[in-house]
Amino acid sequence: SLSKYNYNEYHPLHEIESWMFYMNKTHPDLVSLFSIGKSYEGRSLFVLKLGKRTNSYKKAVWIDCGMHAREWIGPAFCQWFVKEAINTYNTDPAMKKILNLLYIYVMPVFNVDGYHFSWNTDRFWRKTRSKNTRYQCYGVDANRNWKVHWSDEGASLNPCDNTYCGPFPESEPEVKAVAQFLYKQRKHVRAYMSFHAYAQMLLYPYSYQYGAIPNFGCVESAAHNAVLAIRSAYGIRYRHGPASSTLYLTSGSSMDWAYNNGIPYSYAFELRDTGYYGFLLPEGLIKPTCVETMLAVKNITMHALKKC
């Protein structure tokens, strides 16, 4: 039984998968599990769908974690989010409203091959694990591989670089699977959130240019409230703003792709910390990080229910 699953520690891929099966089995009223495809190495790309089942039309929110393998706090947050959503459904009116009115798709580990590799071989692996036929270097940056200004500013065409954008857009089966799923669901999906580390930032489009997005007011307002919510928990400060000016210019990112495909609230979180531990965030900081991030996600989700 996984009833005593420890959310305050990092888990290898096989444990996360067992946990997903368990959540699906033990909460059939709120959770369903499905696979949207296979990774380069043939692993299933699992997604949990949270929400009260109904015959009526429901909007949706997409959350993904673990796009970059070494950012272990991401998958830890996705698991925390699912646990909290289920456990507080009957006690938290806000969560009840969210799960009654929305479906939330949660992909705890986007880059399954890379995550597995970071547990078994190289703790600091970032990319996917696809093999380049002409070079000895492996993998593609899954957050430079999307069909949105692909291979432009802030992406590398060198297969040995950590920001290699791949031989062509959506070359990575993981990216292609999520892009296909989101494209099919794009009329329902109101918000896209992708979880990364580290920098303590909440970013929104555009990444590939400095111009403001058309619905800047709504997106900025939601981000502002979200970072205030984060600060309210433990006083941790997050910077927020357009990714291009708050972080740096990048192209081929999932956030820009989601926004340009009609998802009005699109964000990328850079979770704790600001470099004291970096990618080696201790397990003791999983809980505070997840507690404060949970507040931000709920905040953005409530915004996504409103018209913009």
């Binding site: 190289d122 970032r126 940056d141 802030g154 972080l247 990048t250 470099g275 970096g278 397990e283």
Partner: protein
Amino acid sequence: HLYKNRYAGDKVIRVFPKTEEEAYELRNMYRQLQVDLWQPSSINHIEKDTVTDVHTSGNSSHVLLSYLIKEKVQHRILVNNVQTMLEAQQVSRPRRKRR
């Protein structure tokens, strides 16, 4: 040893290039040393006043630190031994330790 001891002696160093020349030299040095950049994600993003966190192997960290000290480039060691830190974090997991 975790990860077959591959991170023994590795360091994570935070560097603050204060001029364009320092940033230029750092970019060159990082390329030569083939470092693992933690922040920013790409060497090309390193500019004046960009905080850069770099994970280097034991040998490369000697070369990098010698350069930083000699050229008086502002820096700080964030992790003195990556392997030790990984193992210290592993020890704090009682369940896994028992396994």
